[in-house]
């Protein structure tokens, strides 16, 4: 009924058989898991199991990638626009859920309790904005890239160029983080050197996207979604069954929360898991601003928006957003349950009378993780590498019975370590590793394609050589894809320290730089090119200034804006003290004094106490304001442009941007 677009014979066969193909695939994957469980029970070593999991899944993605190779522009950029809503929803789910969502989300919820739910809300609610404000209209226009739309609506290459800059800055940091995540997972589960692992991950990404562009990425992302959701649900269901006897973790989370609160009270833990606005510096203001930035960022990130260019119709694009959110929801409403069960398990462990002497016997897994990386598990403030290290650290602090606060687990290890925490067999660990890889690879594919498409389509084809023949455009696109991928892998291999913070920045940058131009472009006819260009520069500029200023130029930022800082008096006093110390420090001690001063400045350099993570709180309103004011002050758009907007708002009719597709 809905899928009435004419399809070529081959494509039609494929799309009408999708249910069967992916059904067989899912069954095959489950059979593979069972096979692994059997050979693991027969005594095949864990490392081999890990290798088989990763090799099997990556081989499948590679086969799909190679089968989907194409030399047609329309197939390469938008998968021929015949991806049914439900499969596009699955692909968007995989595109959206990054390595960080899979690996880090439950851990963040474990550490931040209620306040971590800002991420759950922010990363789901944004799809409401995608559906009602942006996606259907971009689909009607028929763009290949987001800057394509900006250029058509705001008449020219300036708006296109600014769009490409915003797109590049938010997507590149994001893709570095994904490659970093694939490196971490491969290193830990396959025992490869991190630097080698990064390039192995890179190969896995390229084989999916290079030959077939969007078409290949779409069908591998669907396959990756299936792997990652199975890998996420099984440990959670397992843990719920062990703890409560009922295999529905989302429901039994209630029981877990009640137990957590009771145990926290019994152990005199002041900040309860369920208490709002008290964890990790998230007061109510920062909690709500973070939700806003993540939601608006979702509705502006080009690698997400471009997924809706691939549906057969505007109607399907709307339905597809709903399916996307449903598939994302399945993971995101499991994450808080995951966190609650992990926390319950840990509190139980502590309540059982944990001491530095018996910990190696009661929770040996902690030492194994700490031995892999000392920052992952710290007990009594030191890396918990073995029983002796724990005993020494605790003796130094005078701790004889361990409390919950003495055990410090890193957010990124909670999901990966859960199988061991709950005593599951190794095959589950292998499955979780395959799931984490699927999540990171699928997001990396989408991001790389967004960047390479913008560079090849917007910069090369539209701005440099409008007469380029199709074959050359596709070659340029592939070469750029490889170059960007190698650059991202290189940056990832240097292990940049701020990688996780940068991912959150991507949302603010996209929100401030693109959202006003996209929304007003459809919903307010009076927006003209001068307004749009000024607004994008203002929004993106202020956002970037706040991000970089509060992070890398904190002292200067604070000196300039101390009147707006919400720092408490004692923090300001400490800053003044460190500043005097720096000014009077001997030449050889100055560098160290500056580091201390800068560190303190980072905690107080802000406007009204808004966290750096939520920089779009300033950039977004500034973008809207400048766009509206400048548009009002300059001439209204031409009649032809107003007709264009009328046309954009109506689903019926041909898509507006026609491309030569031969």
């Amino acid at each position: 009924m809905a899928n009435t677009t004419a399809t070529t014979a081959g494509g039609g066969d494929f799309t009408s058989n999708l249910g069967r193909i992916y059904g067989i695939y899912t069954g095959g994957f489950i059979a593979f898991i069972i096979l692994m469980a059997i050979i693991s029970a027969m005594g095949v070593p864990n490392r081999i199991i890990g290798y088989l999991f990763v090799a099997f899944t990556i081989t499948i993605y590679a086969v799909i990638g190679i089968l989907s190779r194409t030399m047609q522009v329309g197939e390469y950029y938008v998968a021929g626009r015949r991806v049914p809503a439900i499969y596009n929803g699955m692909a968007t789910g995989a595109d959206w859920m990054s390595g960080a969502s899979f690996v880090g989300m439950a851990g963040t919820l474990y550490l931040l309790g209620y306040d971590g739910l800002a991420f759950v809300l922010g990363w789901t609610g944004g799809y409401v904005l995608v559906a009602i404000l942006v996606a259907p209209y971009l689909r009607k226009f028929g763009a290949y890239t987001v800057p394509d739309f900006l250029s058509a609506r705001y008449g020219g290459n300036l708006a296109r160029f600014i769009g490409v800059i915003v797109l590049f800055s938010c997507s590149f940091t994001y893709v570095v983080a994904q490659i970093y995540a694939t490196g971490i997972i491969s290193a830990r589960f396959l025992g490869l050197d991190f630097n080698v692992a990064v390039y192995v991950g890179l190969a896995g990404i390229l084989v999916c996207s290079m030959l077939g562009g969007m078409r290949a990425v779409t069908w591998t992302q669907v396959a990756q979604y299936i792997v990652l959701i199975i890998a996420y649900l099984i440990p959670a269901i397992w843990m719920s069954t062990v703890k409560t006897g009922v295999p529905i973790p989302q429901l039994m989370q209630g029981q877990a929360l009640a137990n957590i609160t009771a145990l926290e009270t019994a152990q005199n833990i002041a900040t309860h898991h369920i208490t709002p606005f008290v964890h990790g510096g998230y007061n109510a203001l920062n909690y709500f601003l973070l939700i806003l930035c993540l939601m608006v960022g979702t509705a502006s990130l080009p690698h997400v928006l471009m997924r809706y260019f691939t549906t057969p119709s505007v109607r399907e694009a709307r339905v597809s957003v709903a399916w996307s959110l449903l598939f994302i929801f399945i993971l995101y409403f499991t994450a808080p349950a995951y966190a609650a069960f992990a926390k319950w398990t840990m509190l139980d462990l502590v309540a059982s009378g944990l001491t530095p002497e018996n910990i190696s016997e009661k929770a040996g897994w902690m030492m194994r993780w700490a031995a892999a990386d000392g920052t992952l598990v710290q007990i009594c403030g030191k890396a918990a590498t073995d029983a002796a290290a724990i005993a020494a650290a605790c003796a130094e602090k005078g701790v004889t019975a361990l409390s919950f606060a003495d055990i410090n687990l890193n957010a990124d290890m909670i999901v990966l370590a859960t199988p061991e925490m709950a005593g599951m067999p190794y095959v589950i660990s292998g499955l979780v590793a395959a799931g984490g890889l699927a999540a990171a690879l699928s997001t990396a594919d989408g991001l790389l394609l967004a960047i390479a498409n913008a560079l090849s389509h917007d910069i090369y084809y539209k701005m440099i050589d409008q007469n380029a023949p199709t074959a050359r455009r596709l070659v340029v696109s592939r070469v750029l894809l490889v170059l960007v991928a190698i650059a991202a892998a290189y940056v990832a291999s240097t292990k940049p320290g701020d990688i996780l913070a940068m991912v959150s920045w991507a949302f603010s940058l996209a929100a401030a730089g693109l959202f006003p131009a996209l929304v007003l472009g459809v919903w307010w006819k009076r927006t003209n090119s001068a307004g749009a260009v000024a607004g994008m520069i203002a929004g993106f500029g202020i956002c970037l200034y706040y991000l970089l200023g509060t992070r890398y130029g904190a002292v200067g930022f604070y000196e300039m804006w101390s009147g707006l800082s919400a720092a408490p008096a004692d923090a300001v006093a400490k800053y003044a003290e460190l500043k005097t110390a720096w000014a009077s420090a001997a030449p050889d001690a100055q560098a160290a004094a500056w580091v201390a001063l800068d560190k303190q400045a980072q905690t107080i350099a802000n406007w009204w106490g808004v966290k750096n993570l939520s920089a779009a709180a300033f950039g977004l309103p500034a973008g809207f304001l400048v766009m509206i004011v400048v548009s009002r002050l300059t001439r209204e758009p031409s009649l032809a442009m107003q007709e264009f907007i009328e046309e954009l708002r109506i689903p019926r009719g041909k898509q507006m941007m026609e491309e030569k597709t031969v």
């Binding site: 759950v120 809300l121 799809y127 209630g254 939700i291 709903a322």
Partner: protein
């Protein structure tokens, strides 16, 4: 062309957009302003404030989007601008 039918189509589309935006503000922000108070109500072990942020609002978003897709489609058909 801005024919009367097109104007009425766009008015309805815009109203639907504002209804959705209102619901979005309600489930995304407004209800969580009262998280502390809602947490005093406990159902199946879930404090209600926590439940709304962990599951309730998410379910609302998903239901809203499917409802929106249907509703907008019927507006399209009513005004004869749906795709063939």
């Amino acid at each position: 062309m801005a024919t009367p039918d097109r104007v009425s189509y766009w008015n309805k589309t815009r109203s639907l957009m504002f209804v959705m935006l209102g619901l979005w503000v309600f489930f995304g922000y407004f209800i969580h302003l009262f998280a502390v108070q809602l947490n005093n109500i406990v159902i199946f072990g879930f404090p209600l404030g926590f439940y709304m942020a962990a599951q309730g609002s998410l379910i609302a978003f998903v239901v809203m989007l499917f409802w929106f897709a249907r509703k907008q489609n019927s507006i399209d058909e009513e005004h004869n601008v749906a795709e063939d």
